[in-house]
């Protein structure tokens, strides 16, 4: 991802923050917006960083700064980090704690027990739910205007991409560590379908992220194979599987294409992954209308 796009996004986000902050008191009706919010989960981190007013978000999870899983790791450098521990929450005494339903049940339970409000986000694995998540986070943070704009932009971009698609669709396979592929009911599958691809792992009957046999990857010869770019990571044997020499014989386009962690969370940034793959799709199999444009 280019730095230019990042900074543009940041600028945009900053501009909206100011507008949102000015308008926030008017959007009353509900309770007053919390002034000190703590996010314990990588995915709520992304939503909160995109929407919170300056100073409103007191800390994000340490994972948000990890460039191998967090697409917003640059922004996360501007926030203090927590490690999802109840003790950290007690010390900070925030007005609101944000976390996911997947993890940290014990922490959530403890924090609720001492009377600090906790909001849990359940991340359903489709793109369609994302505008709803953005609006919910906007309500919680008292940033409704900003959330509304972000959610509307998201829906518009997504619909525009989906409207452009045509048959026949090229095939795609995400081949990750140890040959694991996201199949049905994953956010990646939703991203692939929106960008106009057929996800081979889902068609092969994989549900969730599951191992996709290397032999099948060769036999099916997908048009695109998405691997992860992890050059600067500590070594693992699993990272060698997507580099297996057998894959070099295929005609498939094999590349990382996307920054790490692009579909880890259903935050607003996932639309960048959809756009990127939609461009790739038009490049390898242009739709007629698209080609004449």
């Amino acid at each position: 991802m280019s730095d230019g796009r990042w900074s543009a996004l940041q600028f945009l986000a900053g501009a909206i923050v100011m507008a949102g902050a000015a308008l926030a008191p008017d959007t009353a009706g509900a309770a007053e917006a919390p002034q000190r919010v703590m996010s314990l989960n990588l995915c709520t981190d992304q939503l909160a960083m995109a929407l919170a007013a300056p100073g409103q978000l007191v800390s994000v999870s340490f994972l948000a700064r990890d460039r191998s899983i967090s697409p917003m790791w640059r922004e996360a450098q501007n926030y203090p980090v927590n490690h999802g521990l109840a003790e950290e929450v007690f010390l900070e005494q925030p007005d609101l704690v944000l976390t996911g339903t997947f993890s940290q049940h014990n922490t959530t339970h403890l924090v609720r027990k001492v009377g600090i409000p906790v909001e849990e986000f359940d991340f359903a694995m489709t793109l369609e739910t994302i505008p709803g998540e953005i609006r919910r986070m906007g309500d919680l943070l008292g940033q409704q205007e900003k959330a509304e704009k972000l959610a509307a932009d998201f829906s518009t971009s997504l619909e525009a991409i989906e409207r452009r698609q045509c048959e026949p669709k090229p095939t795609i396979l995400a081949f990750e560590q140890n040959g694991v592929s996201p199949g049905k009911d994953t956010l990646a599958d939703s991203v692939f379908r929106a960008a106009g691809f057929r996800n081979l792992a889902a068609e092969a009957g994989l549900v969730g992220a599951a191992p996709f046999p290397l032999e099948l990857a060769i036999a099916e010869e997908p048009d695109v194979i998405v691997v992860q770019s992890h050059e600067d990571d500590a070594p693992t044997l699993g990272a060698y599987v997507p580099q297996h020499p057998a894959l070099k014989h295929l005609q498939s386009r094999i590349d990382a294409f996307l920054p790490p962690g692009s579909w880890a969370c259903n935050g607003p940034l996932i639309i960048d992954a959809v756009k990127r793959l939609a461009e790739l799709r038009q490049e390898i199999a242009p739709c007629p209308a698209e080609a004449s444009r």
């Binding site: 560590q177 599951a210 046999p213 032999e215 990571d233 500590a234 070594p235």
Partner: protein, 329 residues
């Protein structure tokens, strides 16, 4: 049974299991596709799957099984101890540990060559330690207890190193290093391990005369002009090279070296030397079969091959312990 007949029979078994191993996989290729795929070359799908995925896997299963079977036979002969086996006495565990330390901590950079280097070092330390111990006390119990301690320690340290790795995926590989697998290996792995394993086989084969003489007792062996230190060095190096290389590419696979020599000993005339080649072939056949079972039982996820060998080997081990006790009593 005549040695030649036994070896030919086992060779037939190896060839059969090798072909079955080539024919089994998630992409449904027939036997004829498989064979033409290998011979014809070409870049069609069948050819790529055969040459790049199934052939290296079958070669590795054969070579690693051969190494483990032969190492078990030579250790049992040399230590005059029926329970000696690379997995059980901690050689495989220490080889895993060495490989894990060099590879995951990035001490040798992000390269596959760190694996055999580390595994060799670990295996060497383990075999040398055990032989030093065995030289002082010839008790079966001492050796096995030391082996168990070494195995557990190596297993714990392997898990620790993998948990310490900054890469969150590394800890998922604990199961590979403890249970072994041949999944998705490539020709790179074959070239990495095969030369070392062959060198190990040669060293072990050269020490055959020594273990024959040793079956008469150490003094008798010395009076026959056998140099024990030299023989010991050759066996240590041979086993460490073979098991180290095997572990570097397939993780720790247990029990093959234990079961195979025992199964085949009744078919030989009791001369330890004549058990080496049959044990190698038998080990190859067993590991080829076990690896095929892994792919058939759980086609998508795949079992770890160490699970299958342990399912065969552990009950056998118990039976062996009971029998040894009865004989001792």
């Amino acid at each position: 049974m005549k040695p030649a007949a036994l070896n030919l029979g086992l060779l037939g078994l190896v060839v059969l299991f090798f072909l079955v191993s080539l024919a089994v996989g998630s992409a449904g290729l027939g036997i004829t596709d498989s064979i033409t795929g290998i011979i014809a070359g070409g870049s069609d799908v069948g050819g790529i799957i055969m040459r790049e995925i199934r052939l290296p896997r079958a070669i590795l299963a054969l070579a690693i099984g051969f190494t483990l079977g032969m190492s078990g036979a030579v250790l049992q002969g040399f230590l005059r101890n029926p329970l000696a086996e690379p997995g059980l006495i901690g050689v495989s565990g220490m080889a895993s540990l060495g490989a894990v330390i060099l590879f995951y901590l990035g001490l040798a950079g992000n390269t596959l060559y760190a694996l055999p280097a580390g595994a060799l070092l670990g295996a060497l330390i383990a075999v040398a330690l055990l032989l030093a111990l065995a030289a002082r006390s010839s008790s079966t119990l001492t050796l096995i207890l030391a082996g168990v301690a070494l195995s557990s320690l190596a297993g714990a340290l392997t898990s620790l190193v993998l948990n310490l790795s900054p890469n969150p995926f590394a800890s998922y590989e604990i199961i590979f290093w403890l249970l072994g697998s041949l999944k998705d290996r490539s020709m790179e792995h074959v070239w990495l391990a095969l030369p070392l394993m062959i060198t190990g086989w040669l060293l072990i084969a050269l020490s055959g005369r020594t273990i024959n003489a040793l079956s008469l007792g150490e003094e008798a062996a010395a009076s026959l002009g056998i140099s024990l230190p030299r023989a010991r060095a050759m066996i240590v190096l041979g086993v460490a090279l073979g098991v180290g290389a095997a572990t570097a590419v397939a993780g720790g696979i247990g029990f093959v070296g234990l079961v195979v020599p025992h199964l085949l000993r009744p078919f030989t005339d009791g001369v330890p030397n004549r058990l080496l080649l049959p044990s190698g072939l038998g080990g190859g056949a067993l590991l080829l079969a076990a690896d095929t079972v892994c792919r058939v039982v759980l086609p998508a996820g795949e079992l770890n091959v160490g699970v299958v060998t342990a399912l065969i080997g552990a009950p056998f081990f118990l039976w062996l312990v009971v029998r040894t006790r009865r004989e001792a009593a």
